[in-house]
Amino acid sequence: MQSANVLLRKIVRSSVLPFAAQHGMKKDLFPLSRTLSLSPCLKQDNSCSPSEKLDLDAWKKVMKSGLQEVSETVSEHKELSTLAAAREILEMWRLAGRSVPENISEEQLKTFVECPSKSAKKKYLKYLHLKELYKKNDKRKMEEKRERRLETEEQAAKTDETKRNSFICLWASCMDRAYNWRVAQSMIFGQPLVFDMSYEKEMSVREVANTVRQLVLSEGCNRRSVDPFHIHFCNFKDDSLYHKEFIKHYREAWGKLLITVTDQCYTDVFPKDKLIYLTADSPKVMKTFDHDKIYIVGSMVDRSIKTGVSLARAKRLGLETAALPLEKYLLWNTGAKNLTLDQMMHILLTLKDTGDWKKALEFVPKRKYCGFVSKPVNELKKTLNLINTLKLGKRQEEVRRQFAKNYSKKRTQK
C-alpha cells in the first residue's frame, strides 16, 4: 500500500496521468474511473499538497497583471452624462449575462432612461434583446438563402438551360394592378368597413405600434380578397401617433392607399341605424352577417384588458353593438375573447363571401379553443347545465363539510 501510494503520487505529480488514462492504465489502478475519484486512498496526502502543485490564486495575478493600460483610462473618465452612464451599465449587464441588446440606438437609450421603474426598464431591455436576436437570425437565414440561390444559379448557368414561356414574367406587378382594380371598384360599390381610430389615449406607444401593424396586415388581406371591403379609417387625426406609425410602415405608399381616411366620426359619415359596433363586451351576439350594415371595429390593442372601453363608446353614441358568436360555435378554452384586427378582417371577409360561420371562425387562433361545437347548441347546453349542477352540488357538499368542521371546532373551543 505504501509503495503504491508513492507510485501514485509520482504519477500525479509528473502529470503522466492523462497519458496513463489514455492507455487504460487508470482503469487498472483506480476501479472508479472518474478523474479524481481516486481520492479515497490519496485523501490524507492530497489534502495537504494542492498548494504546492496548484497555485489557487494564480488567476488573481493574471487579472491584475494585464490591466495597467485599462486602469489608466479609468482615471480619465470622471463625470459621465446620464446617457453615457446608462450605456456603460448596459454593457456591464450584458457582460453579466442579462438579456440586454448588444447595440442600442440613442433614441432607444433615451426611452430606456425614461422608463418609470426598474421592472419597466428590464422589460424594455428584454424586448430590445429579443428583437435584436430575431433580426440577427433573419439576416443569417437571408444570407444562407442567397448563397443557396447563387449556387443553383451557377449550376443552371453550367447546364445552360433556357426556359420557354408564353408569358413575360411580370407576376407581382400584374397582380398588384388586378388587386388595385378590385379595391378601386369596392371603393365605389363595395360594403364599407369602419376602423375607429379614437383609442390613442387608451394605449401605450407600443400598443399603438402593434395596432398599426395589425391594420397594415388587415389592409393587405382585404386587398387580396375576391370582394374587398371599402375600408374607412374614421376619427383619424393627422400627426397622431397612428399617423406616424402608418408612415413608418407604408412610406410614400400611404398617400396612394385605396382606403378612405377621415377625421370625421362614423356617425357623421353614415346613417346611425346602419352602424353596428363590433365589441367582445357586447351583450348581443351576431347571428348572421348583414350585407346592408356597416360594421365598426375599434382599432385598439389592449394588453392590460381594459374591459368595456369600446362598449362605452358605442353606448355614448347610441349605436347597436354585436359580438362574434364565439361561444356558440367554439368550445372556448383559454385566452381573451378579443381578437386581433387582422383576424377580425379575415373572419369578416370570409363571412361576407360565404356566410359560413365555421369557415370564418377557422381564423380564431387554435390555442384559444378546443374544437367546434358539433351538436345542436341546446343539447350541448343541457349537458353543460348537468355538468354545472354536478359541480355546484359538489361545491355545496364541500361548504357543508367545512362548516360542520368549523362548527365542531367552535364547540370544542368553548
Binding site: 479524481l36 494564480a58 488567476w59 488573481k60 493574471v62 426598474k118 352540488g393 362548516f403
Partner: protein, 467 residues
C-alpha cells in the same frame, strides 16, 4: 454536472470540459452548480486559475458567480480581493455585483465598507431595498442605531418599502438600550405599521414584545390575547378604536368612489350619465337607508334554490328589525322567468325599496354609492370582496380607507344547511396597530396563515405599562 470535491489541475479541467455536452458554456454551468452545491472555494479558484491561464482573462459573469460563491460562504478577505480586482478591471460595476458586495461585506466585520459601496451605487442608480436592508442590519447589529435610522429614513424618502425583516431588526437590536430618541424612532415604526395597515408576523411580534419589556425602568408587560367582538381587550379592558371613519375621511372616500369607481375614465363603461342621475335622484328621495343589498349577489347564495326565493329570504330576514332596506338589481329580474317569479318580486317590493339598473350596467358601483350616501350607520350586504373596485382607487391612502370602511360596514351572508343564514357581522373595532399612551395593541398574524387583503388577523398583542 456535479462539481468536483477537490481542486483540479488544468488538464483535468480540460478533460471534464471536453466530456461536457457544450464546452462553450462549461465554465458557466460548472460555476452555477458550484453555487448550488456550495462547493469549497478552492475548487472554484482552481477553475478560475485554469480559465485565466488558458484565456489570459476571466469573463465578468464568471467573476460574478465566483463572487456569489464567496458571499454565500462569507469569505470576507476574498470578497475584498474581488472588489479590488473588479474595480481595476472594469470602469464601473453593475447592480448585480454591487448587490453581492454589499450583502457579503455587511455580514462581516468590514461592514463599513458596505456603506461606502452603497454610496457608490447611489451615484449610478437607486439602490434596491435589499441593499438598504443589508446596510441597516449591519449598522444595527453593531449598535449604531443612529446610522441605521438615518439609512431607514433615506430609504423611505426614496419610496422604497422596507421589509418586515428590517423593521424587526430595529426592535431586536435596540433591546435594553436607553434613549428617548431611540424610543421615539421605534414608536415611529409602529405608527408606520399603523398607517400602512401592515400586520407583523409572530416572530416580529415577539421582538416587539421583548423590546417593550426590556425598556429599563418603564415596566411594560405584554400579553397575547383575542379581542372580544365588542372591541374590548380582555387583558387590560381597554376599548379599541372603532372602525368609523372621521367626517373628513368619510367625505373624501365618498368623493373618490364617485370619481374613480363610478365615473372612472368614462362614465359609460360602468353605467351611463342618465342612469346614474336617475339613481342619484332615486336615492336622494328616499334617504337614509339602513342596509343596502346587492340583490343579484344575494340571490345566488343557495344554488339549489330559486334565485328570487334566496333574495326573499334575505330581505325578510333583514326587514324584521324594521330597517329601511334598499335592494339593487338589474332590469332582467322584473321579467317573469323560472328564477324570478313576479308575485314574489311584488311581495318583496312592499318590504324594501328596489332599484333596477340596466342589464349591462354594474350594480356594485351603485351599491357603494347608496351606502356611502346614506351615512355612517348604513351597512351593505354582498359576498363580493370588491377587489376590483378597490383597485380602481388611485392612491394607497384611499385604498386603505376603503378597506377600513368595508370591514366596518359589510355584512356577509353564507349559506348554512339549516334554513337560516349565518351572518358574519361587520367589525365594530378597527384592526390596526393602536395606542392610548400607556397601552399598545398590535394585531399580528401567524406566519403560515394565509392572508388576503380583505382578511384581518384575529390575534392581538396587548402591551400595557404598569406604573
Amino acid at each position: 454536472v456535479q462539481p468536483p470535491e477537490k481542486p483540479l489541475q488544468a488538464e483535468e479541467w480540460n478533460r471534464l470540459r471536453e466530456s461536457f455536452r457544450s464546452p462553450e458554456i462549461f465554465e458557466e454551468v460548472m460555476f452555477n452548480s458550484m453555487v448550488k452545491c456550495n462547493s469549497p472555494i478552492d475548487v472554484a479558484k482552481s477553475l478560475l486559475t485554469h480559465v485565466a491561464k488558458s484565456n489570459g482573462d476571466i469573463a465578468y459573469n464568471l467573476l460574478l458567480k465566483y463572487l456569489a460563491l464567496c458571499v454565500q460562504q462569507g469569505q470576507t478577505s476574498e470578497i475584498q480581493d474581488m472588489y479590488d480586482i473588479m474595480k481595476t478591471r472594469f470602469r464601473i460595476l453593475e447592480s448585480g455585483a454591487y448587490n453581492l458586495f454589499i450583502r457579503g461585506l455587511s455580514n462581516s466585520d468590514q461592514w463599513r465598507m458596505a456603506l461606502t459601496l452603497l454610496e457608490e451605487v447611489k451615484k449610478i442608480m437607486t439602490p434596491s431595498r435589499t441593499n438598504y436592508e443589508s446596510c441597516i442590519k449591519a449598522a444595527s447589529r453593531h449598535q449604531e442605531m443612529n446610522l441605521a435610522f438615518e439609512l431607514y429614513h433615506e430609504m423611505l424618502a426614496k419610496d422604497l418599502v422596507p421589509t418586515l425583516d428590517v423593521l424587526q431588526a430595529f426592535f431586536d437590536y435596540s433591546r435594553s438600550m436607553k434613549g428617548a430618541d431611540l424610543q421615539k424612532e421605534l414608536f415611529g415604526i409602529l405608527l408606520y405599521l399603523r398607517e400602512n395597515q401592515i400586520y407583523p408576523h409572530k416572530t416580529f411580534m415577539r421582538s416587539i414584545k421583548l423590546w417593550f419589556e426590556s425598556i429599563p425602568g418603564e415596566n411594560w408587560r405584554g400579553h397575547l390575547t383575542n379581542i372580544k367582538d365588542s372591541g374590548q381587550c380582555p387583558v387590560c379592558n381597554t376599548q379599541l378604536e372603532d372602525s368609523d371613519l372621521t367626517e373628513e375621511e368619510y367625505n373624501n372616500l365618498r368623493e373618490r368612489i364617485i370619481r374613480d369607481v363610478i365615473h372612472g375614465t368614462d362614465t359609460f363603461r360602468k353605467t351611463s350619465p342618465q342612469e346614474f342621475e336617475a339613481f342619484q335622484t332615486f336615492v336622494e328621495n328616499r334617504l337614509p337607508f339602513d342596509i343596502v343589498i346587492d340583490g343579484l349577489n344575494v340571490s345566488h347564495i343557495k344554488p339549489r334554490k330559486m334565485q328570487c326565493e334566496n333574495l326573499f329570504d334575505a330581505v325578510s330576514y333583514l326587514a324584521k328589525e324594521n330597517a329601511r332596506l334598499l335592494v339593487l338589481g338589474r332590469k332582467h329580474m322584473l321579467i317573469n322567468s323560472s328564477n324570478w317569479k313576479r308575485e314574489i318580486m311584488k311581495e318583496m317590493q312592499n318590504k324594501a325599496d328596489f332599484f333596477f339598473a340596466e342589464n349591462i350596467s354594474e350594480d356594485d358601483a351603485f351599491l357603494l354609492y347608496a351606502t356611502l350616501r346614506s351615512g355612517k350607520h348604513c351597512k351593505f350586504v354582498t359576498r363580493d370582496f370588491l377587489r376590483d373596485h378597490k383597485a380602481c382607487l388611485s392612491d394607497s391612502v384611499t385604498r386603505h380607507l376603503f378597506r377600513k370602511w368595508q370591514r366596518g360596514h359589510q355584512i356577509v351572508f353564507s349559506p348554512s344547511f339549516v334554513s337560516i343564514f349565518i351572518q358574519q357581522p361587520a367589525f365594530r373595532y378597527d384592526c390596526v396597530v393602536q395606542t392610548t399612551g400607556d397601552t399598545w395593541h398590535i394585531p399580528y398574524k401567524d406566519i403560515f396563515e394565509e392572508k388576503y387583503s380583505f382578511q384581518v388577523p384575529r390575534k392581538w398583542l396587548c402591551i400595557q405599562q404598569k406604573l
